[in-house]
């Protein structure tokens, strides 16, 4: 047991220099924290990191095979992100390293944000706020009409913990819900479509909220967007690379799709400048998860998982990696 030992167990902190969590200080009081970015480094870093069994990965910090190679005794990475696209999953699988993620700590906030972006795009909220603040109302009198939200057909790409919360919210707007995912979910009343193009052709509001993997990269391509058409809008609260951004920008500029609400981009923090002039897009700096409630929930989850690991208890929000037996 941890309490019986003289030295607390070792925990590797894996993070980008500017990406820190407020629990780091608490962790240093409870564990032997090994942070390769510490200057000066921990005096016994080489020996301790060689024997360390657990790593905390903060945010989107890449966990590559090279990173894993530095820690030969590693058994588990506790992650703070909803996705695991920054992990070399194959390398983890071959070394039988377990991974945990944010689970549903963020799900309510991301679902709220997706609905907020969709309403903003259709009802032109941000554009109308700009219009009023610029003093244009008394001058131009009429502001153009928006498009109705209630009753629209919502198509959800990825009906996981976030997607199902988005569905529940849009149902209260009298919207019909359809989805696509790797396979049809049992006992779900929503219409299933086998692929994104088929979903898009039956959708007014296409919401992208699936995990980013090799299979889902650029899942929303020119064909899918053309099927969605100029009366449809895209909301992306997943990852930038789920959408072919170059094609998205071209189709927004040419009016081939009706609008977009984007919280994520392919090359953050770079955002295509062509979008800055458009009133039918709403742009957001990867903010969907950022409320104190979400951060508090994720920090609680990280602490619980670290404690559970060292006391051989089951982990929460563990990613099912299907290790070869």
């Amino acid at each position: 047991m941890a309490g019986d030992e003289e030295t607390p167990p070792a925990l590797i902190l894996h993070h980008l220099p500017n990406f820190k969590l407020s629990i780091f200080a608490l962790l240093r009081s409870k564990y032997t924290v090994l942070d390769p970015l510490d200057d000066p480094p921990h005096p016994s870093f080489p020996e301790l990191s060689n024997a360390a069994r657990l790593m905390l990965c903060a945010g989107p910090t890449p966990v590559t095979a090279a990173v894993l190679d530095r820690y030969p005794a590693l058994e588990c990475v506790v992650g703070s992100s909803a996705g695991i696209n920054h992990f070399d999953v194959a390398a983890c699988r071959s070394r039988r390293i377990r991974i945990t993620c944010a689970g549903d700590s963020f799900s309510d906030d991301v679902a709220d944000y997706a609905v907020g972006l969709a309403i903003d795009v259709l009802r032109r909220v941000s554009a109308a706020d700009r219009f009023v603040r610029a003093g244009s109302w008394p001058v131009r009198r009429e502001y153009g009409l928006g498009s109705k939200v209630s009753g629209k057909r919502v198509g959800i790409v990825g009906l996981g913990s976030i997607g199902s919360r988005i569905a529940k919210r849009f149902e209260s707007f009298g919207c019909s819900i359809a989805y696509t995912s790797t396979k049809k979910k049992p006992n779900i009343p929503y219409t299933f479509h086998a692929n994104a193009a088929r979903l898009a052709s039956n959708t007014d509001i296409l919401i992208v909220c699936c995990a980013l993997t090799d299979e889902t990269r650029h899942l929303i391509n020119t064909e899918v967007m053309a099927t969605l058409g100029n009366s449809g809008i895209i909301v992306n609260v997943g990852r930038g690379a789920l959408v072919d951004e170059k094609a998205l920008v071209e189709m927004l500029v040419s009016g081939e799709i009706g609008g977009a609400g984007l919280d994520v981009f392919e090359h953050e923090p770079r955002v295509p400048r062509e979008l800055f002039a458009l009133d039918n897009v709403v742009l957001s700096p990867h903010h969907a998860v950022l409320t104190p409630d979400s951060l508090g929930a994720i920090e609680d989850l990280l602490l619980a998982n670290i404690e559970a690991f060292f006391s051989n208890q089951p982990l929460k929000a563990e990613v099912q990696l299907e290790f070869a037996s």
Binding site: Y113, R123, A128, F131, K168, S172, V271, S284, H287, T291
Partner: protein
């Protein structure tokens, strides 16, 4: 019916204007250089008035049109129509209820999300080209917040249904407790505000509800509370609202309506915790067509002696 004179008070919708022009003898009031002379000249042929939330049938206008039979209003609110005078003169009044309920409720939720999650500010920040990784600010969660609704009519109920899907506990104020709902009732607006994180104005504008949101209510809502007004500007004491926001006594506001539209208090323009909209709560293509069809349907029903679709008087 093309001999029937219909007076349209201001431009409100192209489709409605075209259809009125097709079906009736349409007069466009706003294009008349001398409106008094115009009224005197056409008083004998104008049998219907089409108004909206900014221009309605005042007592003077009603008196100037002795042949007036019906005011078919292109809005749900009737605060610009002198209903008493209409009753006295036997003038029928219709509005466009229900068709805009969803739009207004949708926008109320959109304003809550935009204010709490700072969506408009996020958009402005990205468009400024200033986004740097790791440079972020926390915003406020919406799901689970206590939503208080002033006026549990059609629009208030539609807001409540949507808020429930975000796991928000809903409470309300109205003149009397409603028998057919389980939402928590408060007997005063101040009491409702002190038990709400988000306070929504969704009642009709009457002399009793003018300035229903006053300083006491704003202070009860407090520095973390958010006011959403999708009703009418005069529901809120705007001077008090501005000072509460500027002094940080109120957490934020999402405002679609103002006391002296289209004038918006300039003190609000620099604030990050407000979202300011130009009275667009019912402003969607789909709904404007449905409203126009109701205006036309009421006029046609009246002049072919059928029952009005949505009568008020």
């Amino acid at each position: 019916m093309d001999a029937i004179g219909v007076l349209m008070l201001c431009p409100m919708n192209n489709y409605l204007e075209q259809e009125l022009d097709k079906r009736f003898n349409l007069f466009r009031y706003w294009t008349q250089p001398n409106q008094t002379e115009f009224l005197a000249q056409h008083a004998d042929s104008i049998r219907a008035v089409v108004g909206n939330s900014t221009a309605g049938a005042s007592a003077d206008l009603i008196d100037a049109l002795p042949k007036l039979e019906i005011v078919s209003n292109f809005s749900v609110g009737l605060d610009k129509i002198d209903l008493t005078r209409c009753k006295e003169k036997g003038v029928r009044v219709t509005n466009t209820p229900d068709v805009l309920t969803d739009d207004v409720a949708d926008l109320a939720i959109g304003l809550m999300l935009a204010v709490l999650r700072r969506i408009c500010q996020c958009d402005k920040y990205v468009r400024s080209g200033a986004w740097k990784l790791g440079d972020f600010r926390l915003t406020t969660k919406f799901s689970g917040k206590r939503v208080g609704i002033i006026g549990l009519g059609r629009i208030g109920l539609a807001v409540a249904e949507r808020a429930e899907a975000f796991d928000c506990p809903v409470s309300y104020y109205s003149r009397s407790k409603k028998a057919d709902t389980n939402y928590t009732y408060y007997g005063s607006v101040a009491e409702l505000a002190s038990n709400s994180d988000v306070l929504v104005v969704a009642c009709a504008l009457t002399p009793e509800t003018t300035h229903v949101v006053n300083r006491e209510v704003l202070d009860a809502l407090g520095p973390k509370g958010v006011l959403i007004n999708i009703g009418r500007g005069p529901h809120v004491d705007e001077a008090e609202l501005v000072s509460a926001l500027v002094e940080g006594r109120l957490g934020g506001a999402g405002l679609d309506v103002f006391e002296k539209e289209p004038q918006v208090p300039e003190e609000l323009f620099g604030l990050e915790n407000v979202v300011l909209l130009p009275h667009v709560a019912s402003g969607t293509e789909e709904t404007r067509i449905a409203m126009a069809d109701l205006v036309l349907g009421n006029l046609e029903a009246h002049f072919s002696s059928k029952a009005l679709l949505t009568p008020v008087v």
